[in-house]
Amino acid sequence: MEPAALPTALQLAASGDTGLSLEKRAALGASLLLLQRDYRFERVWFWGCIQGVRGTYYIAQGLGPDLAAPRSRLYSLNCVEWSLLPPATVEMVEQAALLKGLFQGDPSFEYEYAEVNAEDDERFLEDGKELTIKEENRLVATIEQIDRAVGIIPRRAFMKTPLGSVHENRNFEGLSLTEAKKLSSYFHFTEPVNLKNKTLLEKADLDPSTDFLDSLEHDVPQGSWTVQFEKGGTVVVLRSLLWLGLTFYHVPMTKQYGYIYCGTGFIHLAHVQHFLRY
């Protein structure tokens, strides 16, 4: 979410445990703007924080003029000094998926692969050296996974130009109250996967400039999103049950929306069906 909107956003999206103390909030307001200046981002979003055992990582994202371009991510341990993270690769994601346990809170910490899985050791020991995974890479992979899985925006907030770049839609006035309750009015902000599988009839109703992303309706597993009206029904808050800690808020009929992730960076995957069924 935008740093300028951070104070109100945190009020609206607060599930209680953001872990952003007042000092950090004040620091963010200043340091995010400086990030924008130094890295020449067109806009900077505060993505959230990942809690580790010894410390917490605070993550910010910088975007260029095209919102669909790969984003640069930065992390900080104190919300004042930021370091750029390397872009995520498929390898990183695979390796990070094998790790369990909380983050340590120290970016230079190296997980020894041998602890993790004895069977896969044979595969990787061909090189002759034991693989270690740096916490930084694990962080990158986790953020990428979370964004890809649960980074959402309201429908018609972003528009695709004929040239393929994605811009903010200036005519977006917010979702109406009835629309805000439906999961189909929220989109994943990543490469669409299900869009091609829609029937022709469905595609006929879509507007290609605004409906170019996957909606949340057909997310697997079903029921992994909770939609609630908080603050007396004035804010609609979506929380993911798959990635516990992701909160998306939107004030209907206004332009305010945003999402923040504050958690341990884990997907609660297997047996989600089991405890989601009711």
């Binding site: 346990g101 603050k231 029904g233």
Partner: protein, 660 residues
Amino acid sequence: EERKEAGRAPPADKQARRAARAAAEWSGAPAQREWERQRQQVQKPSLCPVNRPRELQQFHRLSLKASLPTAEANSRPAPSGNGCPGNGCRFTSVASEAEGLLGRLAMAEHGPYLPHEPGYGLYQPGYGLFDDQTPDPDHRMLACQNAKAYLLQSSLTSGLNLYDHLVNVLTKILDERPANPVDIFENISKDVKAAQFQKKMDTLRDEHEILPSFESAEIRRNLFFKSDAGDEEREEELGEIPLPNVMETAFYFEQGGIGLSRDETYLIFLALKKLVSVQPIQTCRFWGRILGREKNYIIAEVQFREGEEEEETEEEEVIDEGDKRMDEVEDEDEEKEKNEPPKSTYKPPPVIPKEENGTGANKHVYFVCNEPGEPWVKLPPVTPAQIVCARKIKKFFTGRLDAPIVSFPPFPGNEANYLRAQIARISAGTHVSPLGYYRFSEEEGDEDEEGGGGRDDYEENPDFEPLSAFEMVESLSTWVHHVPSILKQGRCVWFNPLQKTEEEEGEEEEEEKDEVPDELQQETGPPLLTPLSEDEGIQNIPAWTVSLSTRLIPQYAVAILRSNRWPGAYAFACGTKFGNIYFGWGHKYSLGNHTPALPPPVQPEYPNGPEIREAADPTVEEELAFKAAQEQKALEGMEGEEEEEEEEFEEDEEEEEEDD
């Protein structure tokens, strides 16, 4: 229309030219654009049909739009008043400027089509301005009027006409002057069309939409009304109110970044006050908030005043006695009928009774509500069976207290019970206080009790000397648990289920001989007021994470404790104040993913031993072979000794007979 008559200041000539250039760009083809510009310079007066009153009336007569009121025609005197100066068209209203543009636009699109029509040559590339004969202004005028008439043609479906619509759109654009209007032109057009239909002169009026947020707002507003005079008297009597200063606690948590927004917290504060005024409460505390799928729970931890507990315990006893009577009646009936199938020898494991209200896991009573302002609902006390089951399942709360919990192992209760069980577990696991804040009250005889429950009572230590925040953060031994941990059995104080009460001994005398009661080992947990440094972590992760709220101003820093076993449980300590709170989903941290318990294997029907094992009947060959072997033995015996022939023969005969 009204705005057009508003009498705007005459736009500058530059603006007109700029607008005209824009209009020229719209028409597209470069040749036409140039022609437009040249036309502008040379033949301006004839290009302003609206400025000629004579043409105007003629024009309106030609118009197919019947609804255009003639008053309009009379109310456009201003533009014509100024006339058309030679060097440029001067429009006195933005609207007429727009119309002029449109006129020119129309001209470019719908001019002379056929070669014999004058002005035809001017559209063809290559033709100069003076190549052909100068076009007849009247013909040009006619073409212009035709074009405008076409534009004024009203649509059969919507009743609008393009001319007025474009005028409105351009008016709006020129009024608002958005950046890059060409990018959002279609949207502006749509907005203008939508605005047309808002003033309906229908007799039917739209019913005011009653949003659900209005009702919630009403509920919240009721929190702010002061209670009536009866409570005021009570307040005067009690010097202290049992209500804690929630805002103060929230302030300290806010330093650590924990907690809801301030207005939400204030509403919760007021809701707690309402609770206190309704129920006879001795101490009260905001316990935390548990998220659910449809609604969330706000939980208050409460201790009733002594002697003012609810009458629920009596009701439960009545129920128990009623059941016992029923059992006795049934036993008598069964003894009479001897055709009953044999009773199963299955004895369910003894039900471990719940702890008394006010002790152990049921020390506090919890009230919940979904939103601040809604009435508080009391949660039932927790039973050990519920805690044991809650440890095995992991379910998200829906937000409705009566929702069933369908799980394996089956949870004895509905969501209210599950919620209460989780609250009990969280409290037992994460409620901590600084070392020395509480101390054991000095009572004798506690250590002699069997079961070794240890000391249960603690009280605030008047000699408490607070440590600085820095020291609190340095090591975990400065924090202690002040809630007894829950044993495996599901209680805080171990209960021996084999101790039979006097009533039950009579019934079970007979059955005692059959069973060999297993000796249960007494379960003990860590004693009260143990420091956190003795808490086990999960694999490599310590059970708690400490941090200071600020490193920059350590004098005023608050020590914040975060639990890793129960993500969402926080505690703070600052000087003499401390607090605990929970914001989360209500689940314990599990390293892998939660695997539900599998059902037990199918129970065997009977014990499997060799005596019931089926063996195949011997086949004929086997029998003959066996007989042959026996005969051979007999022959050998006969050949061996003659003296024993008779005996052996008899024996053989016997054996043979036996074989048969």
